[in-house]
């Protein structure tokens, strides 16, 4: 067998776009998996708790794999990348850092299942499109990883799509809550779609397809779903209301999340845990 491709020297010109893309992929999955882990024990029923925590675990695993690619490129150790970077250094979409709902994960949590369903469904669909494109990435280790991750995404997507359609079709309070959640998710969904200031370089180097192509693909795939449940959604609804995470703009929700998820790590970052 040949040496792993990621050990090969990478053209210095490609590096900024490549690392930028990897930070987005890793940080998106990491923070959403964290939000998922806060739901543990609080999902609508026990079966869902088992399924949701399995998905969050997969997503955290994907984050770990993306951080590993960054470590291989000399960006630092995976645990330091995941735990020690400040909010301004994070490149995740703002939508994914938003709290699950009022309250704290240990007391008085009043988490919003409608928001969980809409956020996860829309995100996973966009992640699926992104990873399908990455299967042809010019950066071989990323292309290989995309192939592996993709298999799990099929089930994640099926899971959230089932919830989304069922709750949308239930009418009454569920419909009202779901529509409100969709509005909230779309208001920051442009922040998920965007690949940031280096998007053009990423496409030019063949790392991933152009942002606009991926966006249109998402709209195209979602269209029949929205139509089937009589929901009017247009391209103009996609916005970046709470900031562009791809350039390090974030909300207080992320600061609080980082403080929690790195609480033990920060006792002694050099120690072995």
């Amino acid at each position: 067998m040949t040496e792993p491709v990621n050990k090969m020297p990478i053209d210095a010109k490609v590096m900024p776009a490549l690392t930028s893309l990897l930070y987005q992929l890793a940080d998106d999955d990491f923070i959403l998996a964290y939000r998922g882990s806060e739901w543990l024990g609080l999902a609508p029923h026990i079966e869902e708790d088992v399924a949701f925590s399995s998905i969050s675990q997969d997503t955290m695993g994907h984050a770990a794999m993306f951080y590993q690619l960054l470590e291989d490129l000399g960006e630092g150790k995976v645990d330091s990348l995941a735990h020690a970077r400040k909010a301004a250094e994070r490149r995740n979409a703002v939508l994914l850092e938003a709290v699950n709902g009022p309250g704290h994960y240990l007391s008085a949590a009043q988490y919003d299942w409608a928001f969980a369903v809409a956020r996860n469904y829309f995100y996973i669909q966009s992640k699926k499109i992104r990873l399908d494109s990455l299967k042809n990435s010019s950066y071989q280790p990323l292309a290989e990883l995309a192939l592996k991750v993709n298999m799990e995404l099929y089930y994640h997507l099926l899971h959230w799509k089932t919830w989304f359609i069922q709750l949308m079709q239930a009418g009454g309070e569920a419909r009202t809550r779901m529509e409100a959640a969709v509005g909230k998710v779309l208001a920051d969904f442009e922040g998920v779609i965007t690949l940031g200031p280096l998007a053009k370089d990423m496409a030019d180097h063949g790392l991933i397809e152009p942002e606009e192509v991926l966006k249109q693909r998402w709209l195209l795939i979602m269209k029949p779903v929205f139509e089937s449940i009589n929901l009017a959604v247009s391209e103009a609804d996609l916005a970046m209301k709470n900031g562009n995470g791809r350039i390090g703009e974030h909300t207080a929700d992320l600061d609080a999340a980082l403080a929690t998820l790195s609480e033990v790590y920060n006792i002694n970052p050099a120690a072995s845990w």
């Binding site: 008085a108 069922q166 609480e263």
Partner: protein, 319 residues
């Protein structure tokens, strides 16, 4: 056909005799088989308590899932707590089948939990204030659970015995996951060593209580005689506690940890561990939902139940 008719013509007493003969011969009882009311009620109580304890048991660990100190530990504890929820689900399905003839469902189990009628295990009422506690729960609480559950692997009730086989296999991984966390701490910095010793001190009494009182004289009631008679379990609470000591005391000591009971020793003549009894009045109080974290954790579950009510209603409409 004739055999079925014959069975219907039997008196309750004859049915009971035949039932006892079956279980004493090592046969398994299945969900649809005839069983004495006492047996059914004992199983419902035991299995629904076991199931709901798995679910409530996710809550003290839940605290540490988002906080786990590395990606590897985050993935490990996520998988571990997911397994516990899975065990809860599996066991509640077994309990639900037993409750069906009584016209009861999972909804009743949840309501009984909220009202305090259905108890959950004493250990899950306790505080878990540090990462050391997260490790200790995996190592010693799951270790204790393996010992009590292994004792029921040959339970006369088939569905429970089969569920336990799967659960025990997974619990072994949990105990290894916990042990790995504890070993890293015990071999780590001074601060980490203190963390793990404090966790041992904090959990010691709860671990002794885990196996239940030695006999009914301690707390007024004990189901162990009934469960032994019906071949659901074989060993007594005290036997299990002694097994736990034999397995874990040497391991605790080998990590350089101190036992929080200076009277503890192995008596060669009696071949028994001699130890200081926990406060059994405190035990009774804890399982009545008066433990340090009982109300907070029940409150968290209750709140989630209320907050998600619209989801249940929507699903009922759809079905």
């Amino acid at each position: 056909m004739s055999e079925a008719l014959f069975f219907q013509e039997m008196t309750e007493e004859q049915k009971y005799e035949q039932f006892m003969k079956r279980i004493n011969a090592g046969e398994k009882i299945e969900a649809d088989d005839w069983m004495p009311e006492d047996y059914r009620m004992t199983l419902i109580k035991l299995i629904s308590m076991h199931g709901i304890s798995e679910i409530m048991g996710a809550l003290p660990e839940k605290e540490w899932v988002p906080k786990a100190p590395s990606l590897k530990r985050k993935l490990g504890i996520m998988a571990k707590v997911q397994d516990e929820m899975g065990h809860g689900q599996l066991l509640l399905r077994v309990a639900e089948d037993l409750m069906k003839p009584l016209g009861k469902t999972r909804e009743d189990i949840m309501q009984d939990l909220f009202s305090g009628k259905l108890k959950f295990h004493n250990v899950f009422h306790m505080e878990a204030p540090t990462w050391g506690d997260a490790g200790l729960i995996g190592w010693l609480v799951d270790g204790a659970a393996i010992i009590t559950q292994t004792n029921m692997l040959n339970a006369s009730y088939g569905p429970y015995a089969r569920a336990l086989k799967r659960i025990c296999a997974e619990e072994v991984f949990h105990a290894q996951h916990g042990e790995a966390i504890i070993m890293a701490l015990a071999e780590g910095t001074e601060e980490q060593k203190v963390m793990v010793q404090e966790a041992v001190n904090r959990w010691w009494e709860a671990l002794l209580m885990f196996f239940g009182p030695g006999d009914a004289s301690t707390t007024g009631t004990s189901k162990q005689d009934t469960t032994i008679k019906y071949r659901i379990r074989t060993k007594t609470n005290e036997d299990l506690r002694q097994d736990f000591f034999t397995k874990y005391i040497p391991r605790v000591l080998s990590l350089g940890l101190k036992l929080p009971d200076e009277t503890m020793h192995f008596d060669q003549d009696q071949e028994l561990w001699v130890y200081r009894q926990p406060d059994w009045n405190k035990f009774k109080d804890i399982i009545k939902n008066n433990g340090p974290k009982s109300q907070e954790r029940l409150g968290l579950r209750r709140k989630a139940y209320e907050t998600n009510k619209w989801v249940h209603e929507a699903l009922n409409t759809a079905n």
